[in-house]
Amino acid sequence: MEVEESSPIELKPVKRSYFVLMVLGWTLASAVIITYFFFSTFFPEFSPIDPGDAGIAFLVVPGFCGFVTGAMLSEFDEKVAVYSSFILTGMAIGLIFVVLFLPLITGTVQDMTQLGSTDQERQSVVLSSIFLLPISLIGSIAGKAFGEVYLPSDEDRIARKLLIKDTKRWHDMLQSYIREKVRKEKEEAKEPEEEPEEED
């Protein structure tokens, strides 16, 4: 059996900048989607399209975004999926607050009472935004699991194939080794039986 000395895939260590870029990129993309749906659900009159039912913004969108983020970051550790959901929620809440207080930030109005949203609406937004974390966390973990099983990278796939091939080869070698050993043991067991015959 031919043994491959070197693998065609070199598993390079992940660069820190690549890792940071990936995490920030995917979490920011998710946060933007969540922010739009979240804000437009509370203030549908400002949205150019109908954002749909509130359940979409509170449950479906954070879960979906967390899932995709987890799947996209599935090449990294499990803890990255957890951290990314925290970053994603933080970014989304930050963006929601920025949009909510945009007239104050830009200096359009000087007073909270002049904002286009009421105190009650703002309180609802703040309280509801807390629920983004558990939903995006569940989505992220599920996405990570899905990504690992169904969306491995080409490198990972080849590495897995090589691993399967190697394992099979080692399995075959072990089988033949065991068979050989068993055969030798049987032969050794037969030899003492033959020896007394020769003595006689």
Binding site: W26, A29, S30, V32, I33, T35, Y36, F37, F39, S40, F43, E45, F46, S47, P48, I49, V68, A71, M72, V99, L102, P103, T106, T108, V109, Q114, L115, G116, S117, G147, Y150, L151, P152, S153, D154, R157
Partner: protein, 188 residues
């Protein structure tokens, strides 16, 4: 990166960019709405109250209140309704206004329009909107209206104005638009 991951990634980025565009428009609308809603109340005034010279109290008379609305904001507004409570002060009654307001009420002039028929004021424009009230001849309100001192009327007007926006279906109410005719109004 395999093809399926690439496809999911690109689709997700497209959704994200689309959401960013929608979020931008939503934010601008929110910003403009806040700006308009905070600026319009300071730009509404009752510029004139027109009361005819009443020579015969048995005939119906029309009082006209002119509301001037300026729109310094960046959104077009639609004035859908105005309500004006018109009082006529009797200078011989020295009580403060709150003490005699029920006795000097002449009537309410108002209109309510659908958005399509409303008064449209574009950014940077001003408009004078008349609100008319007809007082029936021979009524007690006619005698209240026909109260003059030194040949002048001394009306008080308290108005409420409703307006909405071009692309935003929210109705704003501006209360307390007032006209205090302490200097008197010449009849026309």
């Amino acid at each position: 990166m395999n093809k399926l991951v690439r496809l999911i990634g690109i689709s997700f980025i497209v959704i994200s960019l689309l959401s960013f565009g929608l979020l931008y428009v939503t934010s601008v609308n929110y910003l403009n709405y806040t700006e308009t809603a905070s600026e319009i109340p300071q730009n509404i005034e009752i510029s004139e109250v027109r009361i005819p010279l009443i020579t015969d109290e048995s005939q119906d008379q029309t009082v006209e209140v002119l509301f001037t609305v300026s729109n310094p904001s960046s959104l077009t507004i639609y004035v859908t309704g105005i309500e004006a409570y018109i009082y006529m002060d009797n200078l011989s009654d020295t009580r403060p206004f709150l003490g005699k307001m029920n006795e000097i009420l002449v009537g309410i002039g108002q209109f309510n329009l659908q958005k399509a028929d409303s008064h449209i004021i574009r950014p940077g424009e001003s408009m004078t909107i008349p609100v008319r009230m007809t007082v029936s001849g021979g009524s007690v309100f006619m005698s209240i209206l026909n109260t003059t001192a030194n040949g002048k009327y001394y009306p008080y007007v308290f108005g409420t104005l409703w307006f909405t926006f071009e692309y935003i279906d929210l109705i704003e109410v501006v209360r307390g638009v007032s006209f205090l005719g302490s200097r008197g109004v010449e009849p026309y």
